[in-house]
Amino acid sequence: MAESYPSLPELGVGITHSALIEPALEQWPDLFDVIEFEPQTSWIETRDGAEPYRASDLVLDHIIKLPGQKLVHSIGVPVGGTVRPQPAQLALLRRTIAKFDAPWVSEHLNFNRTQEFSTGFFLPPRQTLQGVETATTSIRDLQAALPVPIAVETGVNYLRPRPDEMPDGAFVATVTERANCGILLDLHNLFTNSVNGRQSVEEFITQLPLERVWEIHLAGGFEMEGFWLDAHSGAIPDTLLSIAREIVPTLPNLKAIVFELFPSFVPGFGFDGIRTEMEKLHDLWELRSGAPPDKVRIHRAWESGAKIEECASPAIWERALGSLVIGRKPDDEVARELATDPGVAVINHLACEFRASMIVSMLRLTSRLLMLALGPDTFRAMLEEFWSKTPPQLFASSEAEAFAAYLDALDLKVPQLTKILEFERAVMATLMDDSPRVVAFDFDPLPLFRGLAEGRLKEKAGRLGRFEIEVTGDGLLNAPNLGLGPLQQAVPHH
């Protein structure tokens, strides 16, 4: 089958993009052969049916100017579930691929939507023969819509191994062979799964068609509640690096190795930390063999014909797992059985933390006012009630807007809350549509704003009178020089 593989360029090592790492790119450009960009992170959700998403040319042009070849790592059209890719996303993906001249695109062998709701988190697919068929169809659909080859990422799975599912490596092998696509081998995901009691990395690798691996992801994590988390929080664990040193020489078509670091952890990890990890990746890159596929020993211990009792179709699995993860009570046999898996509670916890982080990031003044006026515990309880009533949104702007609507409905008697919320909604709306908005106050809002920015509630309200703040729209795409980099480093929690 080697002759059917696409001819891809050998790129080298790099890192996933976030604005916070850019000083490191500037300081050590030679360390980064590749910058992997997740396009959906920079899209604006317009809520316009004809054009639901908007991508900024300024952002794309800015990314192009960064060091290294750009790769596209999609996070919005995962291929492990029954929900098909949105055409609007595909159009923007094509545009991004063309802009970057990206040689391949990667997506996740997970699902993040059911037919009814978004899950707010990448969830493991149904690893059965029906699940193989579902994923294969989805990959073929995506491949047909994109101009470059696709590699699918091996996912993290916090659930216990199940007797009614294929082994992790065998599932990936079967799907990628049938779909004739590449593999993005996320070694930290495999490491996480292994530490948490799923298949060992070694066994996973023996089941994989190694010649299909085009790219490797490496990252760090940490332990929480007895689980190792795929947190992308810092240094690659030494144990994982040792495993990677054994695997890299066995991959004949390896084209890139990418280090993943989630933006929230950049200030704590630091640029020197990034440099150290990149140097490790360069050492790792030198271990690749480049041996032709026919000389590589490939093990496939599991055959797709093995008997598996499939008690739930992919659609039933997605609905059951998705419902539990977004906090709904189990309402069928599959969900009741899944609810006994301790991994479900962990995923629910992680998904909620992501939702809370989106809200405090987008509605920071509102969140602080609520915490100061009502207490952090009450604020947390409000979030939990909101989560129980409202499924997650994929975009932070929509998640925040949904929470703002929830607050409106609560009609809380918190002084100044209405105006602070109105102001922050205006800011969000203007960021999204570039149209100016005026927010009127019947008191001087500046002392309140200043207090909230400092984490304090002023005892005295601002003087009475009519005040207005005009939020102008030339901020996002033609943003002024605010020196935000140094400011954020000085005050990282901001």
Binding site: W43, F122, L229, E260, S264, G455, G465, T472, N481
Partner: protein
């Protein structure tokens, strides 16, 4: 006020601090109302400096109590270090969209809680 400024708390805080000081919350209170009369409308420029809005009328004497609307507008004009501008573009765009690929724990909320709670475990206030 450009939405980009209002959205980023560090810049927002600095801009508000500058404006509040200019409005009369500086340590020396004397003369604050006078300054306010003179400069009822303000522009926060791209350096986060406060300037009188070019179109604002300056008339003396006026009622010392600010009854008419006061508009604070932050200029969004670009004119400085391109590298920092680009960082702002990518940073703000990155926060509005989908969360990045991560199957772990976003510490942003925890950091915000930590910021709001003092060393004694009590909420600021």
């Amino acid at each position: 006020m450009p939405a980009a400024v209002a959205f980023d708390l560090a810049a927002f805080q600095k801009g508000i601090a500058n404006l509040v000081d200019r409005l009369g919350c500086a340590p020396c209170f004397s003369g604050a109302d006078c300054r306010f009369i003179h400069e009822r409308d303000f522009v926060i420029n791209e350096k986060l400096e406060i300037r009188s809005f070019p179109g604002a009328s300056v008339q003396l004497p006026q009622d010392p109590v600010p009854l008419r609307p006061v508009t604070a507008t932050l200029s969004g004009k670009v004119g400085f270090d391109l590298k920092q501008i680009q960082s702002v573009v990518a940073n703000i765009a990155g926060r509005l969209g989908c969360e990045g690929c991560c199957s772990g724990f976003d510490i942003h909320f925890r950091q915000e809680l930590n910021f709001m709670i003092n060393e004694a475990g009590q909420i600021r206030g």
